[in-house]
């Protein structure tokens, strides 16, 4: 290459690149559609499904990317409505709910088949659920089915307890507070032996793990008598004595030295008094000194199990002691008497050593069962799932769970093929082995590249399945999928995929960009157990100082949220909430104006913070709060661009309105999780929740009982009671009202700072029809089709959810007909109360 030609080439290359840049930027904004838009020749949908699916076993993965793929490959009793996500008939053509809401009977259609042609019967569902809940499968989603009677016990490997006559103990005798367990008169479907068992009052179950069991027993005087936990109840105490007396191991020597008289007494007569002396002696040495102290353990040869148990026990006591010590310091530092009292109450007693250590010592000699009567492990067969006949399935719950039907379309409840799984074991999902039950069956699975499914002619609803194939591309690089979309190599993407930087441009294409409320929220948790956010006033001030409208304008894709349950999706609940909140405001003497101001009122925020003892003062043009312990508060969030942007916005709001600069702390996702889980952060932590089903309970449940999943440390028995009450309520609207009251109670305490209802954020080509931005972005694939006639494309659409598509409506009508007919033909007496979810 000569000198001059090289120079020319360089200039021309630079020019070409520059011109391309300019033209590519301008062309995209002016076009009618976003990028190349052509209906593909083949009837195939190309969909970006997100990160690589963890497994194709519907009971295993937990993520949404998998959920969407599995929905194509498997059918369940019910399916999601393409727009509202409410349950619509699938393999169950109709169903019935008992009047108390604890029993469901599903009538299955007779033409449902697996992809290999085998019929799908009620037995397959029984198998699916038993397998799903088995401890061996260790499914992370198992909690979804915990409403089914004895399923939690089975999943947790628990055991039934018998009394000496062999009768099983009943739960409510021991725990009258616990909900459920009542024998219920209302019942549907044919009676059977199993049905009598499952409808009988709930049996008591205990943990099989000895340590947990021991802990339960220690605190339960009612239950203790059913277990042989004292030395006096040893069948052969003299054997124990002689073993100790003749023993040469460390424990024996220790006991000989310390028990002396008691042992002699017992060895000589072994009457009740002597036995009691023995126990007292044992307890005494253990109470006086720690078994773990050096001089005592010297030369001891404890069994491995015993050592482990003692270790756990000591660790627990150490934790308590540490916590108490900290509290002591705080008590010393506390200023008011009230504060002192409150903190003193928080102190915990150390666990008594008697029971645990006695047990350890004794068990070393008398290994074997710990109970008087053999404990009976809860089996899959005990679960409340019964095939009444081949096409009738009955599911029995512990207690009413009005949202239960809404859970059933979840992939966790979708049916799998027993023979395939038993033959191929863990290899059953390999393309050459897999047998599926859905509208589409697997043809190609190239991990990280593509997963192709094609229409299954064996499916019961095959005539309504419109696509020939779906190609799922497991990618999660946003820019890459946008490029593929613009090149028409992808027709739709999964949720939350438009990169923030592209948003400005993409949102202009209203027919393709889908921004709708989602059944998910984002919020900051307050650590209500740690100073200073343990003070509700401080929490309130922090919440009031945030302009959430400003936040959602800043974030562009979100909608501000002031309550905890997302707004604008659960319309019936929104109504109930409006009504109840108005009532509560009246009762609490809060004016509507003040309540309205909770959304953002910097003035009030400063006043409250000042009342709390941290005066906010004017400092030139801005505010400052010099006494606030800034070093005790921070915002912790998991590393991500959008979380960082939100946190910075929050930080500037607090700075501007309260004069407090809250430090930000980001953590890698998996590092962040345990910190938040055990409420170990300072001040605030970022959190979000995606509803498992379309009901407010999936959100409010986070604050239920103690410890709960809210990661705030907040808990209120009144709140728990309201939730229990709500679920016993049969009338859906009344139930929502009770839930709204509970939400109000929680919000009053401000354990969280709600930020926004999440919004869907994805794109689809205008020729893809029957695909909606429903609250979970979970698509029932059989409704989706490619429209070849450009005049029928989705164009000029303001709100896709309000557009009626005759093809989809007709398909829905057909599907829902069976349940409607069933309800119409039913005798009035057994009218279902909560058959349909709102």
């Amino acid at each position: 290459m000569t000198r001059s030609s090289f120079g020319q080439a360089r200039v021309s290359v630079a020019l070409i690149i520059l011109s391309l840049f300019v033209s590519s930027c301008t062309s995209s904004a002016n076009g009618r559609f976003y990028g190349k838009t052509e209906v593909p020749k083949a009837n195939v949908l190309k969909y970006v499904s997100g990160s690589e699916p963890e497994s194709l076993d519907p009971q295993v993965p937990t993520g949404q990317p998998e959920a969407r793929i599995l929905m194509a490959m498997y059918d369940g009793l019910l399916e999601y409505h393409p727009k509202t996500m409410e349950p619509i008939p699938a393999i169950a053509e109709s169903w019935e709910t008992s009047s108390d809401g604890t029993e469901y009977v599903f009538n299955l259609r007779k033409n449902a088949k697996f992809s290999n042609g085998d019929p799908i019967t009620a037995k397959d569902f029984v198998y699916t659920l038993r397998r799903a809940m088995s401890p061996e499968l260790a499914a992370q989603n198992a909690y979804l089915a915990y409403y089914i009677k004895y399923s939690e016990a089975y999943n947790g490997g628990k055991m039934f307890v018998q009394d000496e006559k062999g009768n099983f103990l009943i739960k409510k005798d021991f725990d009258p507070e616990s909900g459920g367990g009542e024998a219920s008169a209302s019942t549907i479907g044919a009676d059977s032996g199993f049905h009598q068992f499952i409808k009988a009052p709930e049996r008591l179950t205990v943990a099989s793990d000895t340590f947990t069991l021991a802990k339960t027993l220690e605190g339960d005087d009612k239950l203790k008598p059913f277990f042989k936990i004292k030395a006096s109840e040893l069948k052969d105490s003299s054997a124990f004595v002689s073993q100790v007396n003749n023993g040469t191991d460390g424990v024996s020597r220790l006991l000989q030295a310390k028990l002396g008289n008691a042992l002699t007494g017992c060895a000589a007569t072994c009457d009740e008094t002597a036995k009691q002396n023995l126990i007292d002696g044992l307890n005494k040495i253990l109470a006086e000194e720690s078994l773990n102290s050096a001089e005592n353990t010297e030369g001891l040869t404890l069994s491995e199990a015993a050592k482990k148990l003692i270790g756990k026990f000591e660790a627990e006591n150490k934790k308590i002691a540490d916590a108490n010590q900290k509290l002591d310091q705080e008590i010393a530092a506390a200023e008011t008497a009230e504060d002192k009292e409150a903190k003193t109450k928080k102190k915990k007693k150390p666990l008594t050593k008697f029971f645990y250590t006695n047990r350890v010592l004794l068990e070393g000699y008398y290994s074997g069962s710990f109970a008087k009567m053999p404990l009976v492990t809860v089996k899959g067969e005990d679960m409340g799932v019964e095939a009444i006949d081949d096409y009738t399935l009955r599911i029995t719950l512990y207690q009413p769970a009005p949202f239960f039907l809404g859970l059933l379309p979840h992939q966790f409840f979708r049916v799998v093929h027993q023979r395939t799984i038993e033959t191929h074991k863990e290899n059953w999902v390999k393309p050459q082995n897999i047998v599926t039950s859905g509208a589409f069956k697997l043809v190609v699975n190239k991990p990280y590249d593509q997963l192709v499914v094609e229409k299954d002619p064996n499916n019961w609803d095959a005539s309504n399945v419109k696509l020939d194939r779906i190609e799922f591309y497991p990618l999660d690089e946003q820019t890459t999928m946008m490029n593929l979309y613009k090149a028409n190599e992808v027709h739709a993407t999964y949720n939350h995929t438009t990169p923030a930087a592209w948003n400005e441009v993409v949102r202009e294409f209203k027919d393709e960009y889908l921004n709708h409320p989602e059944v998910a929220n984002e919020y900051y948790c307050f650590n209500v157990k740690k100073f200073p956010t343990d003070n509700p006033k401080i929490r309130q001030a922090f919440a009031l100082a945030i302009d959430r409208d400003g936040l959602s304008k800043f974030r562009k894709t979100t909608k501000p949220l002031f309550n905890f349950v997302p707004e604008g999706i659960l319309t019936k609940y929104d109504e109930a909430r409006t009504k109840i909140f108005a009532e509560e405001l009246k009762a609490n003497k809060i004016s509507a104006e003040d309540w309205g101001k909770r959304m953002f009122d910097a003035e009030q925020a400063r006043r409250i913070l000042t009342e709390a003892g941290y005066p906010v003062v004017k400092d030139g043009d801005s505010w400052s709060c010099p006494t606030f312990p800034v070093d005790k508060v921070s915002v912790t969030y998991n590393t991500s661009e959008s979380n960082k942007a939100t946190a910075e916005f929050m930080q500037s709001q607090w700075k501007q309105n309260l004069g407090i600069t809250v430090p930000l702390k980001n953590m890698e996702w998996k590092t962040f999780l345990p910190v938040r889980k055990v409420v170990d952060y300072q001040g605030l932590a970022r959190s979000g929740w995606v509803g498992d089903y379309m009901d407010p309970y999936t959100f409010l449940n986070l604050f239920y009982r103690d410890p709960n999943d809210s990661s705030t440390g907040w808990h209120d028995p009144k709140f728990d009671k309201m939730l229990d009450e709500a679920n016993k309520e049969i009338d859906p609207q009344k139930r929502f009202e009770i839930l709204a009251r509970a939400e109000f109670l929680m919000l009053q305490n401000q354990p969280v700072l709600p930020l926004q209802t999440q919004a869907t954020n994805w794109i689809k080509k205008p020729f893809v029809k029957g695909m909606y931005p429903n609250p979970g972005t979970l698509h029932a694939w059989k409704f989706i089709y490619l429209e070849r006639d450009p005049s029928k494309w989705d164009t000029q659409v303001e709100n896709l959810m309000k557009v009626n598509d005759a093809a989809v409506d007709e398909q829905l009508k057909q599907l829902e007909a069976s349940q409607k007919a069933f309800e119409a033909n039913k005798p009035a007496a057994s009218k279902p109360a909560a058959a349909k979810l709102d």
Binding site: L20, E54, T480, K486
Partner: protein
């Protein structure tokens, strides 16, 4: 020479065990685990998982079991992708990375060597400055910038090459160019520097003094010596290229090993991390060995005993 190779081969084995052990320790020290997620698991479910994956065993047992797996070269099943054995994942995805890597390597060699060679011969001319500025550019513009620019130009505007995804030859063009850019630039600079040094050395002067024609001097004598720095760079570079590169694999959605490796760490997918680490360390040590051997052929002064 032979005994040197044997010695080096033998040392690979304990080195891999060491690398795997350290990695294992680091994974165990990292907070979080493969099943932690946004939704907290009920205790019973967590217990089931621990039981299933042997996490209830004492820690030294877990280490021994892991080591046993490594010795048998069977890393078990991925914790995240529960139906895929680690060995199969490596077998399935390594070819993608390797294809991409080998082509990028060859392209980088061709461009880098010729540009460097020309620059060295025409030192301080426009050709030298031009190729060295390009090299500087190639080295300083990261591939997450080069990639998207190529996509905008050649996929979205000209519709010549597909924007992403593995497939036929056309799919590989853009990622190969993107990946090779930085290596080509570096090789060009190394070649130039190496050649310049050799051209000034005594034995070249001797060769020229002997009256050898310029072609022989350059290609028979100078090039071999000038290539030594290049070889010591390209050996490990080839290993790195074969192992997969996260950015290019993500931008172009190539299902290679690099992306999977990063994901496995984020997922705390222990068997998969260990499998890939062991595989990569063997690969890198093997390439280092090859580099060391090739020195002997390139420079007669280097001998191994």
């Amino acid at each position: 020479m032979f005994s040197f190779i044997i010695r080096r081969l033998l040392i690979i084995f304990p080195m891999v065990l060491l690398v795997v052990s350290v990695t294992w320790g680091l994974i165990r020290m990292a907070p979080g685990n493969f099943y932690s997620g946004e939704k907290k698991l009920p205790a019973a479910i967590e217990e089931n998982i621990k039981e299933k994956y042997g996490l209830n065993e004492p820690i030294y047992m877990q280490y021994l079991i892991m080591m046993g797996n490594v010795l048998r070269l069977d890393f078990g099943v991925s914790l995240k992708y529960t139906d895929r054995p680690v060995n199969q994942i490596i077998r399935d995805h390594f070819p993608y990375s390797a294809t991409l890597g080998i082509f990028a390597y060859l392209l980088a060699l061709v461009i880098g060597l010729s540009a460097g060679f020309i620059a060295a011969l025409k030192q301080n001319t426009a050709a030298d400055y031009a190729s060295m500025s390009l090299a500087m550019l190639g080295q300083s513009v990261p591939n997450f910038v080069v990639g998207p620019i190529l996509v905008i130009v050649f996929s979205l505007w000209l519709y010549i090459f597909p924007p992403a995804r593995a497939g036929g030859f056309m799919n590989y063009v853009l990622p190969v160019i993107t990946l090779s850019a930085i290596y080509a630039a570096y090789i060009a600079r190394l070649t130039r520097a190496g050649m310049l040094e050799v051209l000034r050395s005594d034995y070249i002067r001797t060769a020229r003094a002997k009256g050898l024609d310029e072609k022989t001097v350059l290609f028979r004598h100078a090039l071999k010596g000038g290539l030594i720095p290049v070889v010591s760079f390209t050996g490990p570079a080839l290993a790195a290229l074969l192992a997969g590169t996260v950015v290019v694999e993500r931008v172009f959605a190539i299902p290679g090993l690099g992306n999977i490796f990063i994901q496995s760490v984020l997922n705390r997918d222990e068997p998969l991390i260990l499998g890939i680490v062991a595989f990569l360390s063997i690969l890198i040590m093997a390439f280092n060995l090859i580099v060391d051997i090739s020195y002997a052929f390139l420079d007669p002064r280097i001998r191994y005993e």
